[in-house]
């Protein structure tokens, strides 16, 4: 065997074990991706001549997880933290929307459009309705979001079920239609000539309470985050514990086998898109009637697309999405403070987010490489053990022979003595 034999490296083995551990792989692989992201983005920041540690500190401070150098009047760490929740709430809802479709094998790339349409309808109905008590207005806003998003999603699902139109194609088309038609109505009817966006909604209908005094600091308190967290757990429950969720996953996993098992595949597809739309609608109202209070015409929220990546970063699991949306929000929301402190362009945050998504998309690949490495290690061990066993057998045999020869000899000797 002249071929150089494979050599095991203990650190590599430990890392591979860490990544493939059956119980924790869902957690360890994303953690590994995040660590890689921090390393690579540090290199980026070093090239720009900035201190990466200061940059990460700034990301944390920008979201209220660490103290800033100075604060404006009436603002504090807690205000930043609430701002962080304001951004996270719609992002979490939007990624849950994606997950709901994705687990059923549907790629809902139209979340941005569904968000915009439900935000728009809620704005022009409830948002502009004067003299409505906040106790009625806020639930109504959410209800409008649910109804509009649900109808739109069901329509997409119906197109797929009835006419076999792929959801990616139809949602992209519908995104354009929504973007331009709502843009037309905003520009012609609801425009605020100064801000060039739609007129602001009534405070009663806004899902975020502005300038709430908490411990002497003014905070924008979002109801959306409570809604989003509750919804995440409900979605988790639906997928893991209910028959409905099982059938959705079945359709997503193997459509033929689902049909064979008697599951009504068409109905599940329509339902899946409908629920995806409902969640996107909720994301839309928490975004346009919470985080902001007006709509820029002809602009789709980038969050609608970020949500896809967020969902994938969270292993397309609802609870994973909570952590993933926190992380993405830290980078996105912390970017302005970062740029003001370090003097780098705001876009560096998007670069870092991009790197994070790139690595998290490689999760399956990392696992595959780790498994391959462990297989090699095991092969090598099997070979060694086999060898050792043979050696031992050989040695035992030799010893036995030697012993036999010895005894023979001694016998002979004994005979000679006699």
């Amino acid at each position: 065997m002249k071929k150089k034999r494979f050599r095991e490296n203990i650190f590599k083995t430990a890392l591979a074990r860490f990544l493939t551990n059956e119980k924790w792989t869902k957690l360890t692989v994303p953690v590994f991706s995040i660590v890689l992201t921090l390393i690579v983005s540090s290199v980026f920041l070093l090239i720009l001549g900035k201190n990466p540690l200061a940059a990460f500190q700034a990301f944390l401070a920008g979201n209220g997880f660490a103290a800033k150098v100075s604060y404006g009047a009436g603002a504090g760490m807690i205000s930043d933290f609430f701002q962080f929740l304001n951004v996270m709430a719609p992002l979490l809802l939007a990624s849950l929307a994606f997950i709901f479709g994705y687990r059923c094998g549907l790629f809902n790339i139209g979340i941005a459009g569904q968000m915009l349409l439900s935000g728009f309808v809620a704005t022009i109905t409830i948002g502009y309705m004067k003299e409505l008590s906040p106790w009625i207005a806020k639930p109504l806003v959410i209800l409008v979001g649910i109804v509009v998003g649900g109808l739109l999603g069901a329509f997409i699902g119906f197109l797929k079920y009835k006419f076999n139109i792929h959801e990616v194609v139809s949602t992209i088309m519908v995104n354009y239609i929504i973007s331009y038609s709502t843009g037309f109505f905003i520009n012609s009817k609801f425009i605020d000539p100064i801000s060039r966006a739609s007129k602001v909604i009534t405070p009663a209908s806004r899902l975020t309470l502005t300038k709430v005094n908490i411990g002497g600091f003014y905070c924008n308190v979002p109801f959306g985050i409570v809604l989003a967290l509750i919804v995440a757990f409900i979605v988790h429950y639906i997928f893991e514990r209910t028959v409905f969720g099982f059938e959705l996953r079945a359709v997503g996993s193997n459509r033929n086998a689902a049909r064979y098992a008697g599951i009504n595949v068409g109905r599940q597809i329509v339902f899946s898109m409908m629920f995806s739309g409902i969640l996107a609608g909720m994301a839309g109202v928490t975004y346009y009637l919470g985080y902001t209070n007006q709509i820029l015409p002809k602009t789709l929220a980038g969050m609608g697309y970020d949500s896809i990546a967020t969902a994938l970063l969270g292993n397309s699991s609802p609870l994973g999405a909570i952590l993933a949306s926190m992380l993405i929000t830290v980078f996105q929301n912390g970017s302005s403070y970062l740029s003001s402190v370090l003097g780098v362009a705001k876009e560096i945050a998007s670069v870092i987010t991009g790197i994070l998504l790139l690595f998290s998309a490689c999760g399956g690949f990392f696992r595959y490489v780790a498994q391959g490495y462990l297989r090699k290690v095991a092969d090598e061990r099997a070979y060694r053990e086999g060898r050792a066993q043979e050696e031992a057998e050989k040695a035992a045999k030799a010893a036995e022979e030697a012993a036999a020869a010895g005894s023979e000899e001694s016998k002979e000797k004994g005979g000679a003595d006699e």
Partner: protein, 514 residues
């Protein structure tokens, strides 16, 4: 010593190869003479393919040596083996779909020429001529200008063989070549192999089908659990003997069954027609009945509408004409779920595409017929404990082997155990009608025996059995009544006792008058 060894073209001596947890080959020695057909017989996992992979250069043995024409060799890659004129036809073909047959054959060793002395190009004309000549020599009909995507599996296999011949391979390894072929195509392939032997080629045939070995091989090495059990002269050994050696115990080649005891008609198919997606009528006005306690087997060459017929009965495809009645109830327009609840169990042909969710746990797969019912779920919410205990019972009862019991992901299980899970799940419903489509495809002898026993047990319980199989032996061995399907029509329905396998074979070819 060397003079003695020269009679063997391939020698693999004391080969040992270990994989984690198992010894794939344990001190195996085989010696193959030039110009013979040497069969390697063994069940799935016996180590046949591993042994040949070492001869083909995919793995290196941990131990032992390989000699080709008396000369010791160490292969580090398949190309080194190819340089020694060794070629292998893999179970899964390696062909480029949108290239022609000729282009696939010359791929990697293209005959290059230069136009005007400068511009290099591939001389396909010359290559195609050479291929035509080779195909005449060995009776291998291939047309070098056909596209791979336009030709069927059997011809694709011929292309793979041609690839080896074009590379002047002398030692040809066939890995389970008949697994995907119909009986007629198998016949044709065996003839080709005989031609090749006549042409002086040495053939090593990996298989678990004893019949083929009897037909064609000169000698046969039997492997079991990585060990070489015996090398036999095929002419002087009986089929039973080979089967026993292969499995390691006494095998019943024919399933014992008592005389049939028919009850009332369970399934009544009347004038059923099915059009497929391309608007071709694939099942044409088929009518038959199956009584309780009867195994009704449909024999036929693959692609004659038998799968569509089963799908139309279970509701996976829509019947365009005719009726299907189960216990007197018209189910023609019912949904799949309604039909299965009415009392149909279905073991589908493509088990991984239809029968199981590969990424779901074994318990999720085993409760597939019941998960929507109490006590497995209540008001739409699962009771996981009930599901797992039901799964555990089936695992025990049907001897389903898996790494981690009920929570094993089905993808990690062997094909035989996946099939056991499907069969167990479907039989456990105690349905009045059980449909088996190709229930033993790709399984080894022990598993086949097991499934045949289950089929007969179901019939004795009083179920009506519809068995659809491409294996004529299986049909002849199990059926009480045989229906032969050809081109979507049921050509002949008769009591199994009144038909010989030759007659059935003739009907399968579409001959109506004997």
């Amino acid at each position: 010593m060397s003079a003695q060894n020269e009679e063997y073209i391939v020698e693999m001596r004391h080969i040992t190869k270990r994989f984690p947890g198992i010894v794939a080959n344990d001190n195996v020695t085989i010696q193959v003479r030039k110009g013979e057909i040497y069969a390697l017989l063994g069940e799935n996992g016996a180590g046949k393919s591993t042994l040949m992979s070492m001869l083909y250069g995919l793995y290196e043995p941990d131990h032992g040596e390989i000699r080709i024409r008396g000369e010791k060799v160490v292969f580090k890659s398949p190309s080194e083996a190819a340089a020694r004129n060794i070629g292998m036809v893999h179970q899964h073909f390696k062909l480029v779909e949108n290239y022609t047959v000729g282009e696939n054959i010359v791929l990697g060793i293209e005959p290059m020429k230069k136009a005007l002395g400068i511009f290099p190009y591939v001389d396909m004309k010359e290559a195609n001529e050479k291929i035509r000549a080779l195909s005449k020599d060995y009776g291998l009909e291939v047309n070098p200008t056909d596209l791979i995507s336009d030709i069927n599996v059997s011809i694709r296999q011929r292309v793979e063989i041609m690839k080896m011949l074009y590379r002047e391979a002398e030692i040809l390894i066939f890995d389970e070549p008949t697994a995907i072929l119909t009986p007629q195509e198998i016949e044709y392939l065996l003839k080709i192999m005989e031609e090749l032997r006549k042409g002086g080629k040495t053939i090593i045939l990996i298989t678990h089908k004893i019949e083929e070995i009897r037909r064609i091989a000169d000698r046969c090495a039997i492997l079991r659990r990585g060990k070489l059990i015996d090398v036999l002269d095929v002419k002087t050994t009986s089929t039973q003997e080979m089967a026993n050696l292969m499995v390691g115990r006494n095998v019943e080649l024919t399933t014992k069954k008592s005389a049939p005891d028919y009850g009332d008609v369970v399934l009544d198919v009347n004038d059923l027609s099915v059009w497929n997606e391309d608007k071709v009528e694939v099942v044409k006005h088929v009518s038959f009945q199956i009584r309780a306690g009867e195994i009704f087997a449909i024999a036929g060459v693959s692609g004659n509408g038998q799968v569509e017929l089963a799908d139309a009965i279970t509701g996976l495809v829509k019947a365009d004409n005719g009726t299907v009645k189960l216990n007197g109830v018209d189910i023609t327009h019912k949904s799949i779920r309604e039909r299965s609840e009415e009392g149909i169990s279905y073991i589908p042909e493509d088990r991984q595409k239809f029968g199981v969710f590969l990424d779901f746990s074994l318990s999720d797969n085993l409760v597939l017929r019941r998960y929507f019912k109490t006590p497995y779920s209540r008001k739409g919410v699962f009771d996981r404990a009930e599901c797992v205990s039901y799964a555990d019972r089936l695992i025990e009862e049907y001897d389903i082997r898996s790494g981690q019991g009920a929570k094993t992901i089905v993808r990690s299980m062997s094909g035989g155990n996946q099939q056991k899970a499907i069969v167990g799940r479907e039989i456990e419903e105690h349905s009045p009608l059980v449909i088996f489509v190709q229930p033993t495809r790709g399984l080894d002898m022990g598993a086949i025996e097991n499934i045949h026993r289950e089929i007969v047990a179901e019939r004795d319980r009083g179920a009506a059995i519809l068995l659809i199989s491409l294996e004529l032996d299986e049909v002849m061995g199990l059926a009480d009544t045989i229906g032969v399907i050809y081109s979507g029509r049921l050509l002949k329905v008769a009591d199994a006792a009144t038909l010989t396998s030759q007659e059935v074979g003739r009907y399968m070819m579409g001959v109506t008058e004997a």
